[in-house]
């Protein structure tokens, strides 16, 4: 019973036709325990089997749940979980630290976090220390230069993240090989199409790199926001004083003052340069002397958090409204159409500005330096475009026989909508979510550039561009240049990923029109 039991090419043709037919829907049944008691899906699965047999490879009756199948054949699952445990253990300190930071009250956890080992931290792989002539670098990892130590740490962080991704993929393969009943599901075809979509894969890699940058921001930077920007005078570094010929301590604040980038040759620390204190700056420094890479990495975290929160909220709103308006039709539909038209008649960027000014004095604006407020505003003004995108598929699925059938057997409306309509529009939602995310990132950056978005001292890419603008025509051009390039790359990545997912779930739409309105573009900022 190999996976090739089914013709590998393009799958059954009927599933490719109606976009909502079965391309990504019934695969809900893959998910094990939840699909018990869903006879219709079981029938689908049986139909997909080459031999139509009713006994699984482990000899367990196929009616047995996912848990039973695992219990019968625990080996692969255990091996898979063991890898996860190993991956978690090496970063346990960072995880507990994150937990400690998230909980409002505690004292023990933070101390515990320090005691636990963390492989990928600046404590394990330090990248700062004095350089004593004749003896080389002191205090850095293996005596490497700060640049090399930092590079090693970055490489390790990305390798670690790649391992997790590989683990996830292996998990899916293992599930498919060992535990799944069906030999073929439409989702296999989706994955196969995506595995041939180089442009989409490029997008996935960029997006993952961005997410890793945001998640591991504290470990990636040559220094931390805490040491570098928030309390520079509470921390010291050791440096070699050439005049005195000895190692001395200097506060980070003082060192920053002497390593500023302000547009003249003697006051500039550019790409990959060391400052006078033996500190390595991969992207150079800010006009205040703070490390730009640290700032940018922390800014990635802010951008990702706000945009994910915003898009998550609008996805929930738009999916709910799309399914409800397609299911009920009539007045409900008309009201939703009106609401969305009215929301879209308000120019989004201007409303966002207006709201962020009007609400700037409220408690909402104090959450996450205005980030939560910004996310809420983007969600409230941005849902119509998502809703429009999934409205078509929702209307199509509402006309399907099984929705009538579900109604006629007396299923509650909410259950019909959630179980039998929602799964069919999720794929489309994902496409437009990916494409709109870029637009939100650009919008947030644009607002912060104007001084209306995320407030100081929280780092944000748009604010860095604003800070660096006066120096763009000088030797310190790196300040405003770097965040802009990152925005372009990340937004392109999200657009590419959206293209890839769309072509994977719906091959007929290849190169389709309507992209103008879907993909994020810089016009918003």
């Amino acid at each position: 019973m190999t996976e090739d039991a089914r013709p590998d090419d393009s799958g059954p043709t009927e599933s490719d036709h109606g976009p909502t037919e079965s391309d990504h829907g019934p695969t809900e049944s893959d998910h094990g325990p939840t699909d018990r008691g869903r006879p219709s899906d079981d029938r689908n699965a049986a139909a997909a089997r080459a031999d139509g047999g009713l006994v699984d490879r482990g000899g367990v009756a196929r009616e047995a749940g996912f848990a039973d199948r695992v219990r019968t054949n625990p080996g692969p699952a255990l091996r898979w979980l063991a890898v996860a445990a190993a991956l978690t253990v090496v970063e346990l300190g960072a995880l507990v630290g994150l937990l400690a930071a998230a909980l409002p009250v505690d004292a023990g956890l933070a101390a515990l976090a320090d005691a636990l080992p963390t492989l990928l931290s600046r404590e394990t792989i330090p990248n700062q220390g004095p350089r004593i002539p004749g003896e080389g670098w002191q205090g850095t990892f293996l005596g490497l230069s700060p640049a090399a130590a930092w590079g090693l740490r970055v490489a390790l962080v990305y390798a670690y993240a790649a391992t997790w991704f590989w683990w996830l993929y292996r998990g899916y393969r293992t599930y498919r090989r060992e535990y799944r009943i069906a030999d073929w599901t439409p989702r296999d075809d989706v994955l196969r199409r995506f595995s041939r979509h180089r442009w989409g894969q490029f997008g996935l890699v960029v997006v993952l790199a961005f997410v890793v940058m945001a998640m591991f921001a504290p470990a990636l930077g040559p220094t931390t926001m805490e040491r570098n920007s928030f309390e520079p005078y509470s921390y010291t570094i050791t440096t070699y004083d050439e005049d005195a010929g000895e190692v001395r301590e200097v506060t980070v604040g003082d060192a920053n003052l002497a390593s500023t980038s302000q547009g003249t040759e003697d006051r500039n620390v550019g790409f990959g340069e060391y400052d006078d204190f033996g500190r390595f700056h991969p992207f150079g420094t800010l006009p205040s002397g703070q490390d730009l890479f640290t700032f940018v990495a922390a800014g990635a975290r802010v951008s990702l958090f706000i945009s994910l929160l915003a898009i998550g909220l609008s996805a929930v709103i738009s999916a709910t409204l799309a399914v409800a308006s397609a299911y009920y039709g009539g007045v409900v539909d008309l009201v939703v159409v009106l609401l969305s038209d009215a929301t879209q008649a308000l120019p989004q960027l201007l409303v966002v500005m207006l709201l962020s000014v009007v609400l700037s004095e409220t408690w909402l604006a104090s959450l996450y330096s205005g980030g939560v407020l910004l996310a809420l505003i983007f969600a409230l003004t941005g849902w119509p475009s998502l809703w429009r995108a999934v409205r078509g598929p929702a209307l199509q699925v509402a006309e399907r026989g099984w929705v009538d059938a579900a109604d006629s057997i007396g299923l509650a409306s909410s259950v019909t909508m959630r179980r039998h309509m929602l799964p069919y529009i999720l794929g489309y939602l994902l496409v437009y979510v990916s494409m709109s995310l870029g637009g939100i990132i650009i919008g947030i950056a644009g607002l912060s550039f104007l001084g209306l978005g995320v407030t100081s001292p929280t780092p944000e890419w748009g604010r860095i561009v604003d800070i660096g603008q006066p120096y763009l025509a000088t030797v310190s051009w790196h300040i405003a240049f770097v965040p802009g390039v990152l925005v372009v790359v990340v937004v392109t990545g999200f657009n590419a990923l959206g293209d890839g997912i769309r072509d994977a779930i719906d091959p007929e739409s290849e190169g389709g029109e309507g992209e103008a309105t879907t993909a994020a573009s810089g016009a918003g900022g």
Binding site: D341, A342, P347, L350, M353, L452, A519, S521
Partner: protein
């Protein structure tokens, strides 16, 4: 006259949209946590300021019950009584400000629509006529990057580049090229009648228009490429080739023309994006148009002015939408009037 009925229907349907939009603006400004009168007076608390606060509150009608305020507000907007500015240009009528600031934004918008048309579409068609060549990849890549580039960042980068062009443009640099203009600042629209004045006004607006139109340029490039690719594979093209129509005539007369059809509504929808995008571009390039006016009104606490401007923007967006739908039916009669809207 089906088309006129369609237009009327669209107009009627747009009334609740405008109503909901303005009501939302009213709610944000009047019921939001920020008191418009307090925003005008600013964060001072001496007896004089308190008196002024009371006077402004009375003048704005903030002391009336909320339903009366709402009624007044809506009637004022309907009769195009847009009120006055309180901080940015104290005492000036909003309509007068619109007349003074509007032309510069329109000038910017005009060129921001034209530049993508004359750069994006030809490039896209060129790429579509030579699919999967290096030239195609270069053009497509440019389109992708243009689309993903934030306007404000492109603006500051372009400003920095143009300020360092002493050696280019025949040694005169950008500022001295052809006519003397400064890089930042509003275009002078008073001398459009003269050759020199027109040239200066156009040259002045080119960089900001290029920025504002960059995203549309990327979109139009990509769409026109797809359109050409689709048209070129149509059966009638093969037929024409078979009966011996020359290749250049085929491309110019038939392929490009038919490829244009799906593009035209896209162009009007780009105009819609410009409304919001103009704020950032105007602020960076120092053009005192409506976008800057809105930004100033917001940052300086002139909420009544900001509200009136928002109304203007809403009317503008809705009219562009209607114009686009109607245009669609004119260009492509296959589009039904019984759409789902």
């Amino acid at each position: 006259m089906n088309r006129i009925r369609y237009l009327l229907r669209r107009l009627v349907l747009s009334i609740p949209v405008v109503w909901l939009g303005t009501t939302a603006t009213f709610l944000i400004i009047r019921l939001g946590p920020l008191n418009p009168a307090a925003a005008i007076v600013g964060p001072t608390n001496d007896p004089q300021a308190r008196q002024q606060l009371q006077r402004i509150e009375a003048q704005l009608g903030l002391t009336d019950p909320i339903h009366e305020q709402y009624l007044d507000y809506m009637v004022d907007l309907l009769t195009l009584d847009l009120g006055q500015s309180w901080v940015v240009h104290q005492g000036q009528e909003t309509t007068a400000l619109l007349a003074a600031y509007g032309p510069r934004t329109l000038w910017l918008g005009l060129w921001a629509v034209l530049i993508p048309l004359f750069v994006g579409i030809p490039l896209g068609m060129y790429a579509g006529l030579h699919p999967n060549t290096n030239r195609d990849y270069a053009a497509s890549m440019a389109g992708i990057v243009w689309r993903a580039m934030p306007n404000f960042w492109l603006a500051v980068i372009l400003l920095a580049l143009l300020s360092r062009t002493e050696a280019v443009f025949f040694g005169s640099g950008w500022e001295g090229f052809l006519v003397d203009t400064e890089l930042v600042g509003p275009p002078d629209l008073s001398r459009l009648g003269t050759v020199d004045g027109l040239l200066a006004a156009i040259k002045k607006i080119l960089p900001p228009a290029l920025v504002l139109g960059s995203a549309s340029m990327g979109n139009e490039l990509r769409l026109s490429r797809t359109a050409v690719l689709e048209t070129i594979h149509d059966d009638y093209v093969d037929t024409m080739r078979a009966i011996g129509v020359s290749e250049s005539r085929l491309v110019w007369k038939h392929v490009l023309r038919n490829a244009m059809i799906p593009l035209i509504p896209i162009i009007t929808s780009e105009a819609y994006l410009l409304v919001g995008g103009s704020v950032l571009v105007e602020v960076v390039f120092g053009i005192n148009g409506i976008g800057t006016l809105f930004y100033d009104a917001l940052t300086q606490g002139d909420l009544p002015l900001a509200g009136s401007l928002m109304y203007v923007f809403i009317i503008l967006t809705v009219s562009i939408n209607i114009a686009q739908d109607v245009l669609y039916t004119v260009i492509d009669p296959r589009v039904g009037y019984e759409g789902d809207r």
